[in-house]
């Protein structure tokens, strides 16, 4: 497609964020995704490339601008603090890969 928004090149700041293999390993672990050691270099390169694309945000003057929290100015609705749901243990557990005696079962967590 080779499209580029008009104006300044998106090459601006191209070298600002370089993700090394160590950082890629750390990110994968934080995301709880097992990435084989041999795939880390490619992952690091890919993440760097995407982050470089985001570097053009540095061209924008955001001095004094509030970060958006809600796109529509709205106050979250309140409701009475009452029980509106429950007693559906079977339904809650129905899709569990491993459910026993009314609980979710997982590998041993505490030795």
């Amino acid at each position: 497609m080779g499209l580029k928004p008009q104006g300044k090149s998106r090459q601006t700041g191209e070298t600002m964020s370089e993700i090394d293999i160590e950082t890629a390993r750390k990110v994968a672990h934080l995301a709880r995704i097992a990435v084989p050691e041999e795939n880390l270099p490619a992952l690091a390169q890919e993440l760097s490339h995407i982050l470089n694309f985001m570097e053009q945000l540095n061209e924008v003057d955001v001095e004094g601008v509030e970060p958006m929290t809600s796109v529509t100015p709205m106050r979250l609705k309140r409701r009475a603090d009452g029980v509106t749901d429950g007693d559906i243990q079977d339904k809650v557990l129905a899709n569990a890969p491993d459910a026993r005696e009314g609980f979710f079962a997982v590998p041993k967590v505490v030795e």
């Binding site: 497609m1 104006g7 995301a31 982050l51 694309f53 061209e59 899709n95 590998p107």
Partner: protein, 493 residues
């Protein structure tokens, strides 16, 4: 009557109410069309028995004379919507075997209005993609074809677009986080509207980026979009961001009169390298609206070029948080563990096996931009830019602009696999005209407006003021009529 599956919602509704066709006959026609369209890979979970059961119930309701507009209308539901007892996988292996115990609000509203669900539709995994190539079910295929290549129906609502364009259903639900309704609609010569953020409840729709996600209808005509949107939207106490506002009668407001309306043409949407055909289609669209009595005004949305990078910070950030729930404990896939593996290995192996490459990539990007030390540099900066993007729109609307006309996509449908070697950012550029609308929470609609040189559909996008879906649909209705797009893909599948 033959070819009942080719009817529009509006025509089918009128025939159903007159008793000239039955919901069962309509449903059977669609089921037969689906049966013969395996090559398109649009429907990925089939529910014929449920469909016929609902069609029979719809016929009874129609006989009583108390049937809403969607009663008896066969529709497809994107796999992102949780449907009770019916697989709902978001096209991901990680939700393999998941049978929701509840129904999403939007699909429940359609069901309660009497609509007949035919099955679940293909999509990009977790709605992350612009070509339907990240699906665990394999690619959905565009019914439009110009040579021996299979073309993408777009994404992420690719199955929905393919199914509607190929007349496998009368309409379908889609969802749109960065263009996932409008881009596939444009690629398939169909109509797709993303309503204002908060119009449709997000409850029960598998979450991608919660501040951007909206459901909407994908249909054959603008009138159908009005009818179906009516049934889908409304306040839902189960979604705290759903707006407690009255829903106007969208169809009744399709007056066809846009005299005096001010239509903005944003100069920043003129992209370097944009095909001349798209540029001329855009100009033609503006002319059509002018001929209908609208005033065409050049406008500026200065932060447009920053929308895509802001989106690709914010959406993955929210996704990394939303997708943390897929841990192999409560639903879906759990990896087989080796001797001695603990809970961390369970998480890591489950997510490595369950998520495809694009989802993994976005979850990791999101994790990175939210991590300590980078939160301000990326995530907060992107959210500030988002504020500025919304402000751009606020300002032009304050100047009296009623809606904004842009191209829907930077190209026509491309071949499946053609982007395989491109870097992810190239694929992200598909969203360049649509993503601003999600960031600003506005309603946007893609309307088929012409064919390119090869004979593939091209769409134009109209962007409206917040909550003015009625006005937006009316303008789209005028554009649709003036463009006179009637082409259909020749059946090859």
């Amino acid at each position: 009557m033959s070819d009942l599956n080719k009817l529009t919602i509006a025509d089918a509704r009128d025939l159903l109410r007159k008793g000239d066709v039955s919901a069962v006959a309509l449903t059977e026609a669609c089921l037969a069309a689906i049966e013969g369209a395996g090559r398109l890979n649009a429907f990925v979970h089939h529910t014929p028995d449920l469909a016929l059961e609902r069609a029979r119930a719809a016929d009874q309701r129609l006989a009583s004379g108390e049937a809403p507009a969607m009663c008896g209308i066969p529709v497809g539901i994107k796999d992102l919507f949780c449907t009770e007892g019916v697989p709902s996988q978001a096209a991901s292996r990680i939700l393999g075997g998941f049978h929701p115990q509840y129904e999403s609000t939007v699909s429940a509203q359609l069901r309660d209005a009497g609509a007949v669900m035919l099955g679940k539709l293909n999509m990009d995994e977790f709605a992350m993609g612009s070509s339907n190539e990240t699906s665990c079910y394999g690619n959905a295929v565009n019914p439009w074809k110009v040579d021996d290549r299979d073309l993408t129906p777009g994404g992420s609502s690719g199955g929905s677009a393919s199914a509607v364009a190929a007349d496998l259903c009368l309409a379908a639900t889609g969802t749109d986080t960065g263009g996932s309704i409008r881009q596939p609609a444009a690629f398939t010569g169909t109509v797709g509207i993303k309503p204002t953020y908060g119009r449709c409840s997000r409850w029960g729709i598998v979450a991608f980026a919660s501040s951007l996600d909206q459901a909407g209808p994908m249909t054959k005509t603008v009138r159908d979009a009005a009818i179906m949107l009516q049934a889908m939207c409304g306040h839902d106490p189960k979604d705290s961001t759903s707006a407690d506002l009255p829903v106007p009668d969208f169809e009744a407001m399709l007056t066809g009169d846009i005299r005096g309306q001010k239509i903005g043409i944003p100069r920043e949407y003129r992209m370097e390298g944009m095909p001349a055909e798209i540029e001329s289609l855009w100009a033609k669209g503006a002319e059509m609206l002018r001929d209908a009595g609208a005033e065409i005004v050049d406008i500026s949305l200065p932060h447009t070029k920053y929308a895509l990078p802001a989106y690709y910070v914010i959406a993955p950030a929210e996704a990394s948080s939303n997708l943390a729930r897929y841990d192999g404990v409560r639903y879906g896939h759990r990896a087989t563990l080796a001797q001695g593996d603990g809970i961390t290995q369970m998480y890591e192996k489950t997510r490595a096996e369950g998520f495809g490459p694009e989802v993994q990539r976005r979850v990791m990007i999101g994790t990175y931009v939210l991590s300590a030390g980078f939160y301000d540099a990326y995530y907060n900066r992107a959210r500030k830019v988002r504020t500025l993007i919304k402000r751009d729109f606020d300002e032009v609307f304050a100047q009296g602009i009623d809606s904004i006309l842009t191209p829907a996509t930077p190209s026509a449908a491309f071949g499946l696999g053609e982007m395989a070697e491109a870097d992810p950012v190239q694929m992200y550029l598909n969203d360049v005209f649509t993503v601003t609308v999600n960031l600003a929470g506005l309603p946007g609609i893609a309307v088929p407006a012409g064919l390119d040189r090869q004979g593939l559909p091209l769409g134009l996008q109209l962007i409206g003021r917040p909550w003015d879906e009625a006005g937006l649909l009316n303008t789209a209705h005028v554009l649709e009529a003036a463009a006179g797009f009637v082409s259909k893909p020749a059946k090859w599948w």
